[in-house]
Symmetry: C2
């Protein structure tokens, strides 16, 4: 790994997007979201994913000039068409709109159809939290996870994000419905390590920690087995119903062709609801309660903040092969 | 097990509540919610739980005359104080209010503080779905689950419910954040069976399927390990922040004293958002997609509906000792 300053990563990615024809402000924002995910340690949906994003643009799966279009309004709920624009720009714009709706209505909901991969879901949680509101969002995906009781991938891993603002650092949960990502399983195999807990089935249908055995069967497990399986299904259903867009079973399984996704963005105006102004104190106590009796439990987002500070100071660690590849895109 | 007709179960439970001093309509509704949970196979939060509910009333932990009181309004979000009234009546009233709010605003949110155990969370999901809207609700609980990385129960198992209306039978997810409930672990032990998957740690800190070993350590695991741990924490935090009520670490750990809970009820007006009227068709296709390639995967709520029909026809199976106990309460 080499360390590259954040601004340099941002500048190089912006340059690639400008060369592809992005409008300047959109290139800046999309590149910033990729750079920030990398800065926060989520390389899989940061710089490591950037070449595939560029490929999707070159293959015209993603339309760099498309912005979301308002389709229908029902009070504090809006339905938008993402028009297969860049997934991170569409998601950012949708959360921004949900935040505006919640300022007026206490709560706001944007359902976005026909969008592309949003990359790191947590980005839109941080976006809400940094605006001082509670953010909840999720996306469906291509079918990549066998539901409990099946051997074939019929549901998506449908990441779910919940974010709470906090002066000392937001609490941001960003979890996919599979116990591990394919990328994580591959990393364990390449390091010659077993997974820390069961991550899927082997070809004989036995739960295993062996990454190679799971890759061979293709049978990842949902978090909590039947529970995460049901949660993945219903998140998909709600996203498709609210957005009027595609459900997982309608989304192409080729990773390069993955588009037409459905997403939901909810924002809750915490400052207005927190009439007595005790939100900071409540959050502090809840986080502290995790340290009771000398226990050391991290809250969601804690690790992110630590990594972010380190990487802003020392530079973002980047695989030199990826860095070289990105510079020649 | 003996089988008792639904109406008979409802009548007997109503009689007990009337004798305790409930107003007639409130006795009817509270008893109906207990009877319906039992009818749907959720005995643990139906009739089997009824004696403890009565105990909480006798111990004045639950105030049978208290109704929720509106504390603050912020657009489509309302904050209510449950005043330690009966948890199922408070939750039912809160979801009803969220449904009314969503009819006006597309989306509605009720945050309820200072309430008692809502019994079966799924009841309020079915309530929303039967009203034709999407319902999402969750509750915090007393600390009963060690978060990932801890040995002591510092978070709650904080059940999460998501429900989608559907003519052929709603899709209703009702999941606690622990892989198994204490009741389920006990049942496996009494039957001399191992859990189907790891459910906790033994006293040596090794993951195990042995129910007795988990009971000995008290170390249940969250669904998806670190993922469910984070989800439990943030659901608690959001419930406490929105309701202005207690977080898990402030809730008494004695099961009889468990009250002062915080809950969130969200409703989304699907009929108004579904401008093109394709919701039924989308739901049908998503459910059917689970059968692709001869797979047999149940959707959340499917089993409930099957059991409900069977129990309405044949009578509700009730443990004769419980039935006798309830009749003498």
């Amino acid at each position: 790994m080499i360390r590259i300053p954040f601004d340099e990563v941002h500048r190089v990615l912006t340059g690639v997007l400008l060369a592809l024809g992005f409008e300047p402000a959109r290139a800046q924002l999309s590149a910033r979201l990729f750079a920030e995910s990398t800065r926060d340690g989520v390389h899989s949906h940061g710089i490591n994913r950037f070449p595939r994003f560029v490929q999707q643009i070159r293959d015209r799966v993603v339309d760099i000039h498309a912005s979301p279009e308002l389709v229908a309004t029902c009070g504090a709920v809006e339905r938008w068409n993402g028009r297969r624009g860049p997934g991170n720009l569409n998601a950012h714009s949708s959360m921004q709109r949900a935040i505006a709706l919640c300022r007026e209505n206490g709560i706001g909901c944007v359902a976005l159809a026909n969008t592309s991969h949003w990359m790191r879901g947590g980005s839109y949680g941080w976006q809400a939290a940094e605006a001082g509101v509670i953010g909840i969002c999720w996306t469906n995906t291509q079918p990549n996870l066998p539901p409990w009781g099946a051997t074939k991938p019929l549901v998506g891993n449908n990441p779910l994000v919940i974010a709470v603002p906090r002066a000392a650092g937001p609490v941001v949960l960003d979890i996919a419905m599979s116990q591990f990502s394919f990328g994580a399983v591959e990393s364990y195999r390449l390091r010659g390590e077993q997974l820390p807990v069961d991550g899927g089935f082997d070809t004989g249908g036995v739960l295993t920690r062996d990454p190679a055995a799971i890759e061979a069967s293709g049978r990842m497990i949902p978090i909590g087995y039947w529970k995460g399986s049901g949660l993945a299904l219903i998140l998909d259903l709600v996203a498709a119903l609210l957005s009027g867009g595609s459900a997982t079973h309608q989304i192409p399984t080729d990773p390069i062709l993955e588009t037409g996704l459905s997403q939901v963005f909810l924002a809750l105006d915490l400052p207005s609801i927190d009439k007595n102004g005790i939100a900071e104190e409540v959050s502090r106590r809840v986080v502290e309660s995790l340290r009771a009796g000398g226990q050391t439990v991290r809250y969601p987002g804690e690790q992110t903040l630590r990594l972010r500070r380190e990487n802003l100071e020392l530079g973002i660690p980047v695989d030199p092969r990826i860095w070289q590849k990105v510079q020649t895109l």
